[in-house]
């Protein structure tokens, strides 16, 4: 057991999975000599060679599309899309192709493909690097969508994604790559999809989040504890599949809920969580469910991004408002 940042645990996972399975290979832009723009693939080229760590031309469509072909040929490609904002140029290959081939071929073909993509804001990137587009992909039958918030989960969920015979979009928070250090086992392990993590137990209100927002949620919960409010934080880990049971159990206990995400409000994955809660926990609810999100505007330039992404202060204010509703 060693403490590691998220990017270190992702790199360790890739290395270990490549060591045990020759069919695993990494393809993407700048993944070789540079080791990826965030260094997630650092050292892999030296260890595994250019047959298994492949720098690709700048063409997201054929990076994903050829990844599908590699998967169909019997390999297990792990693709790096440099930023999820560039994933639109591969959108058709992800949504219409990778996610549907198993269905369209009535089970003949499987696409064991992992698409890793950094997403979300908070690190002062240039334009179009920071959007949280997860909802486009959760609306895509056939695809699984995973969004870890801790270094421990990042390693275990990536191992699970590589082992999955379904295509997986694995979202990595830009801000979370080096935000915290966790205790991470040195050996291989897996974290199953569809099992949310109760990041912090509480009794007054449930706050649901994923990826970097789950860290914000925990910090807000800490801040609120000082004012006597007990917040239960549920980190979803995977959006598809969704762990309805953990969400429901928590809200049934607390009677109040809010969902927190970086993406804009309308049509965000928070809406799916809210709809699920009202259906599963309607009679436990003591107040309307809040959505704490970015506004329905494009991701802004870096100078104003702190006003855009929900921060601890906003979460504290929203939850205080939510608690003020009489049961």
């Amino acid at each position: 057991m060693t403490t590691k940042t998220m990017v270190e645990s992702i790199r360790e996972c890739l290395r270990q999975e490549m060591e045990v399975d020759d069919s695993v290979l990494v393809i993407g832009e700048d993944v070789g000599a540079l080791g990826g723009v965030f260094r997630a693939t650092d050292g892999l080229l030296a260890q595994f060679g250019s047959d298994r760590v492949v720098d690709m031309p700048l063409a997201e469509g054929v990076i994903v599309g050829s990844g599908i072909g590699l998967a169909l040929s019997g390999m297990r490609p792990v693709i790096e899309i440099q930023f999820l904002g560039f994933g639109h140029q591969a959108f058709h290959q992800i949504g219409q192709q990778a996610a549907r081939i198993h269905f369209r071929s009535q089970g003949r073909f499987r696409v064991p493909l992992v698409i890793r993509a950094p997403f979300g804001g908070g690190v002062r990137t240039p334009e179009l690097h920071s959007d949280a587009f997860e909802a486009f992909y959760t609306h895509t039958p056939g695809l699984k969508v995973v969004a870890p918030s801790t270094a421990y989960d990042a390693k275990g969920l990536l191992a699970e994604a590589i082992a999955s015979d379904d295509p997986v979009l694995y979202l990595e928070p830009l801000k979370g790559y080096r935000l915290t250090r966790d205790e991470v086992p040195d050996e291989r392990y897996r974290v199953p999809f569809g099992k949310a993590r109760v990041a912090r137990e509480g009794t007054d209100v449930t706050l649901i989040a994923w990826s970097a927002a789950a860290v914000t949620a925990e910090r807000a919960a800490e801040a609120l504890e000082e004012s006597g409010l007990s917040v239960e934080v549920v980190d979803l880990r995977s959006l598809v599949p969704l762990d309805v049971d953990t969400i429901s159990a928590s809200v049934a206990k607390t009677g109040r809920a809010a969902v927190l995400h970086e993406a804009p409000l309308t049509g965000g994955f928070g809406a799916e969580v809210v709809a699920t809660i009202q259906q599963e926990c309607f009679y436990s609810l003591q107040a309307p469910i809040h959505r704490i999100t970015s506004p329905d505007t494009p991701y802004p330039l870096a100078g104003v991004e702190d006003m855009y992404i929900p921060d601890v202060d906003r979460v504290v204010a929203e939850l205080s408002e939510l608690m003020a509703v009489a049961p």
Binding site: V62, G65, S66, G69, Q89, P241
Partner: protein, 360 residues
């Protein structure tokens, strides 16, 4: 250097032809034996019969919208005849029925697909064919990756992917040829230039004089072939396959042909095809040309033609009967094979749907 000069444009190349319209062969040694030509003619006739019968059924409301191969039989069969179904793969678009049948796909599966039955997507385990592609050119990146993966794993199988002049305008075309050139993928990009993308003529797709001349821009070889000439298409494709198998990388084949019929059964080409443009292609009919060749060698006559026609009709009727008699799909078909490992809420949805269907 004070001057610059523009990159020179390649000289236009005439399409490669072996078999003249009158059925005479330009070379002493035919690339296909008489038996192989008859075999190819069988696939050409089979798809022509299928197209006629399926169109008729479509008019009666018993078959879905589909795209006929008519006019392009030599192009599709000539290409397919260069492949080894045991190790080579076809990554199709949707207008290549005879190639898929030669590779082992049951005709009834193809029919079921266009009848809207989920079982139409089934490809038997030992048949090296990917599902039909509807999103134009989206299959090209997959073909490159499949070819790449086969060679990475030490195989010598090659991949052929079919698409048209319209699809060659898509971004996936560019990205795929670019990557294939870089990695020397054993893939043949078989571009059927049939003159039309629904109603958009080839001249409105690109200012390039030929589509094959784009190949050198990707560091790969391109070739133009008379797509209504079975012999020429076979030879060109066979050489591209041999090159790919030997590690020589990809080839772009532009097969010049003509879509004799409509884009599909919902289309009306009289709104946009000038009859004078279509007229010369009647004489260039690929099936007639092969028959003339065989007749010239006394290897074919009216009774052989009639016999083949009847044999094909029996086979197509059998396939269409099997398709019609396939039990209707149930609501379970909506859910099966969406995931290898389905999420719990999808399993719950399936139970709900199945229950509701029983009530209905």
């Amino acid at each position: 250097m004070t001057d610059f000069r523009f990159v020179p444009s390649p000289e236009p190349v005439e399409p490669f032809t072996l078999l003249a319209v009158d059925g005479t062969l330009a070379v002493e040694q035919p690339p296909l034996s008489d038996a192989e030509v008859v075999e190819a003619l069988r696939y050409m006739m089979l798809t022509r019969v299928f197209d006629e019968k399926a169109t008729s059924l479509q008019r009666q409301g018993r078959f879905g919208t589909f795209s006929s191969v008519r006019g392009q039989e030599a192009s599709v069969v000539g290409a397919a005849s260069a492949l080894d179904p045991g190790k080579d793969w076809i990554v199709p678009q949707y207008r290549e029925l005879p190639a898929l049948v030669r590779h082992g796909l049951p005709i009834e599966n193809f029919a079921l697909y266009f009848m809207g039955h989920p079982k139409g997507g089934v490809i038997p385990e030992d048949v090296n064919v990917l599902p039909i592609q509807i999103s134009l050119a989206a299959q090209l990146p997959q073909a490159v990756g499949l070819a790449w993966g086969l060679s990475k794993q030490g195989g010598d199988g090659v991949v052929i992917t079919f698409f048209g002049d319209g699809a060659s305008s898509e971004g996936d075309f560019h990205e795929s040829l670019n990557l294939a050139g870089l990695i020397k993928a054993p893939v043949i990009f078989f571009l059927q230039n049939n003159g039309w993308a629904i109603s958009t003529p080839r001249s409105a797709q690109s200012a390039a004089r030929t589509l094959a001349e784009r190949a050198p821009g990707y560091g790969i070889e391109g070739v133009i072939v008379d797509g209504n000439d079975l012999m020429a298409v076979h030879q060109v494709t066979a050489e591209a396959v041999a090159k790919a198998r030997a590690g020589g990388g990809p080839t772009l084949v532009e097969s010049l042909t003509w879509r004799t019929g409509a884009h599909n059964t919902a289309d009306d080409p009289t709104r946009y095809v000038n009859p004078a443009d279509a007229e010369p292609w009647v004489e260039r009919d690929p099936v007639l040309r092969v028959e003339r060749y065989l007749r010239g060698k006394d290897a074919w006559d009216d009774s052989a033609a009639k016999e083949l026609q009847e044999e094909c009709a029996i086979e197509v009727d059998r396939a269409l009967r099997v398709a019609r008699e396939t039990p209707a799909a149930t609501a379970a078909a909506l859910f099966e094979h969406v995931y290898v490992d389905p999420p719990e809420r999808l399993i719950a949805q399936q139970q709900t749907w199945t229950r509701n269907q029983k009530r209905a």
